[in-house]
């Protein structure tokens, strides 16, 4: 804990130092990840040019394409070329279609981005009320039931839930589409409708996990001395909880929220397959199936970057919300 007489600028300086160190660690992590991804995808024998041209191609044409794609260069040089391209946002061209990857990825992001955002909203809408309720009623049967329900919610994988939702909501009730995506440009309402079931499948499981953390955090707060003091001062229970409890409870929840966000991003890969949404995950899986390794490489790095940077931001936010945390730590 920092002493009270600590000048604010010294605290800011310590925070900046912490932020700088976390930033360096993040960059090193991403560098390490990029080397690993590149190594795994390029270490195997077998020329991508051969894959592109098929088994009927003459050796001469394979050699020509290999040179054209720059695949005859030594691996470290190929790595530098790839990573340099990524840093300047030149994602290169698909091995299979020959088309630039960037526009295709952009279109996919227009599906995955809103899906993850909706999933997060839905997860929070479940986690916060159920977590608080099950904490406040932890001595009563209703609280225990809520906690048990979240346990079950955690155990249902998002893709299983997705298929169950399709059976009930799309097949039986015919309320929402079972699969596919209506582009935003065609109909915003249609696009949203096609994202509702996927977002619920994605958000419910993450919400159940988050709910347990909210419950634990609120339980810790409810039993804290400062809340008893606030109540002794004459503050009604609800106002005491809102004024003193929520901010204190938000610290652990915030960390988990960061983890959840990466869970949502990864979960989206699977959920897009369930609902055949043309998002980043579907693009990744079809690139794997087509052995379009350069697209796989780009997307894996993109997703990894988003996940790692999210964790960095949550880490920094964590210190802002709770200045008591040892900044040097």
């Amino acid at each position: 804990m920092l002493p009270a007489e600590d000048a604010p600028d010294r605290r800011d300086l310590a925070f900046l130092r912490f932020a700088a160190r976390r930033l360096v660690a993040t960059i090193l992590t991403l560098f390490g990840a990029s080397v690993l991804v590149f190594a795994v995808l390029n270490i195997l024998p077998g020329s991508p040019a051969q894959v592109i041209l098929g088994t009927q191609a003459t050796p001469a044409s394979v050699r020509e394409l290999t040179i054209k794609l720059g695949l005859n260069q030594p691996l470290p040089l190929q790595y530098l070329h790839w990573i340099g391209g990524l840093l300047s946002l030149h994602l290169g061209n698909s091995y299979i279609s020959g088309q630039p990857i960037a526009p295709e990825l952009g279109a996919a992001l227009a599906v995955t981005g809103p899906l993850v955002a909706l999933g997060l909203l839905f997860g929070l809408a479940i986690a916060v009320p159920t977590g608080i309720l099950s904490a406040l009623r932890h001595r009563r049967a209703s609280g225990t039931w809520l906690a048990a329900a979240t346990q079950v919610g955690i155990a249902i994988p998002n893709f299983v839930l997705g298929i169950l939702l399709i059976i009930v909501v799309a097949v039986d009730w015919r309320l929402l589409p079972a699969s596919g995506f209506i582009p935003w440009s065609q109909s915003v309402g249609g696009a949203l409708r096609s994202l509702v079931l996927p977002a619920i499948s994605l958000g419910l499981v993450e919400g159940a996990i988050l709910s347990r953390y909210v419950r634990t955090a609120i339980l810790g707060v409810v039993q804290a001395d400062y809340l008893r003091t606030a109540r002794a001062k004459g503050l009604p229970a609800r106002r005491a909880l809102v004024r003193h409890g929520v901010r204190n409870a938000s610290v652990p929840v915030l960390t988990v929220l960061g983890l959840e966000l990466s869970g949502l991003i990864i979960g989206a890969v699977v959920i897009e397959a369930v609902f055949t949404l043309p998002g980043v995950g579907s693009l990744l899986l079809s690139s794997v199936a087509n052995r379009d390794l350069i697209t796989v490489q780009d997307i894996v790095m993109l997703v990894a970057t988003v996940v790692v940077v999210t964790n960095l931001l949550v880490d920094l936010l964590y210190r802002v919300v709770d200045p008591r945390l040892e900044v040097g730590g």
């Binding site: 992590t29 955690i154 994988p157 634990t216 991003i265 899986l285 996940v307």
Partner: protein
């Protein structure tokens, strides 16, 4: 370790009831996991029908006495496929946890006992792997090596190494700092003997809890990979693969998707509950935390 000498006599009289009241979660999880193990063992030797046996004219039958869970689009018996899938899921999940444990536990012990550059390097490497999402790692490996049971198992195993290393290290650190280890050191015992005699037995319960919790994660990952077509290729029966197949017949036969979905959810729930319950028994102060 909770010994609670004072409670021993009562506990000896009613051990089962005490376990049920102290950790219902462990009992429930243990029962479910035991059931799954039993199914897997039975399936190794016997299934009602061959899991790959196609019978024309018996496609998409509803559940009946002959086919308790009905048949799929090729007339294959769903129960037999589900049982044989249990076998494969468990083998793959246990394999992944074994890989993770065999690398992660020694790495964690090493990181705990060598606090200098070696320990630092190990934990930074663990951070690196940990920050890389497991499913993404698996997809990358499958892209390079092709979809197979082995690729999926290795990918999930490697991605799970850091969680073992972390748990082992944080459990070993207080033991290594304890007075009896200092005494053993002063007595001239070799570091390896100390690790075997003192550290490992004290760390073991934490590792057992971690194994159970991790199994719920690997079961889910194995199912997800085979659902995405990145695990064991068809026609071998896998829970994820059955689910994927069933999705084409949701309008005709929704039950076909319910069975594998139920199997996946129940196993994840079972391993999770067992791990949670064991953790509560191990350390009552952690009760209610996640």
């Amino acid at each position: 370790m909770s010994v609670e000498l004072g409670l021993r006599p009562a506990a000896a009289r009613r051990p089962v009831r005490r376990l049920v009241t102290r950790s219902p979660s462990a009992v429930f999880g243990g029962l479910v996991v035991g059931g799954i193990l039993l199914v897997a063992i039975v399936a190794t030797f016997w299934t009602p029908y061959g899991p790959l046996t196609i019978s024309t004219g018996k496609e998409l039958l509803p559940p009946s006495a002959a086919h308790l869970m009905g048949t799929d689009e090729y007339g294959r018996d769903v129960l037999s496929r589900l049982m044989s899938g249990t076998d494969l899921t468990l083998l793959s999940s246990v394999g992944a946890v074994l890989i993770a444990g065999l690398v992660g536990v020694p790495a964690g012990l090493l990181a705990a006992s060598r606090r200098g550059a070696v320990g630092e390097t190990i934990m930074r490497l663990a951070d690196l792997v940990y920050s890389f999402p497991a499913l993404l790692a698996a997809i990358t490996l499958v892209a390079a090596f092709g979809a197979s049971t082995v690729t999926a198992t290795v990918a999930i195993g490697v991605a799970s190494i850091p969680s073992f290393a972390r748990v082992t290290r944080s459990a070993a650190l207080p033991v290594l700092a304890s007075e009896y280890v200092q005494a053993a050191r002063a007595y001239g015992r070799s570091p390896l003997a100390i690790l075997r005699r003192h550290v490992l037995p004290n760390v073991a319960p934490f590792i057992i809890v971690q194994v159970s919790l991790l199994l719920s994660v690997t079961v889910l990952a194995v199912a997800a990979l085979s659902y995405l077509g990145l695990g064991t290729p068809p026609p071998t029966a896998t829970w994820g693969g059955m689910l994927e197949n069933a999705q084409s017949y949701l309008y005709q036969d929704p039950l076909l998707a319910v069975w594998p979905g139920l199997a996946i959810a129940l196993s994840v729930l079972g391993f999770n509950a067992l791990g949670d319950g064991l953790r509560d028994l191990l350390d009552p102060t952690l009760r209610g935390r996640s």
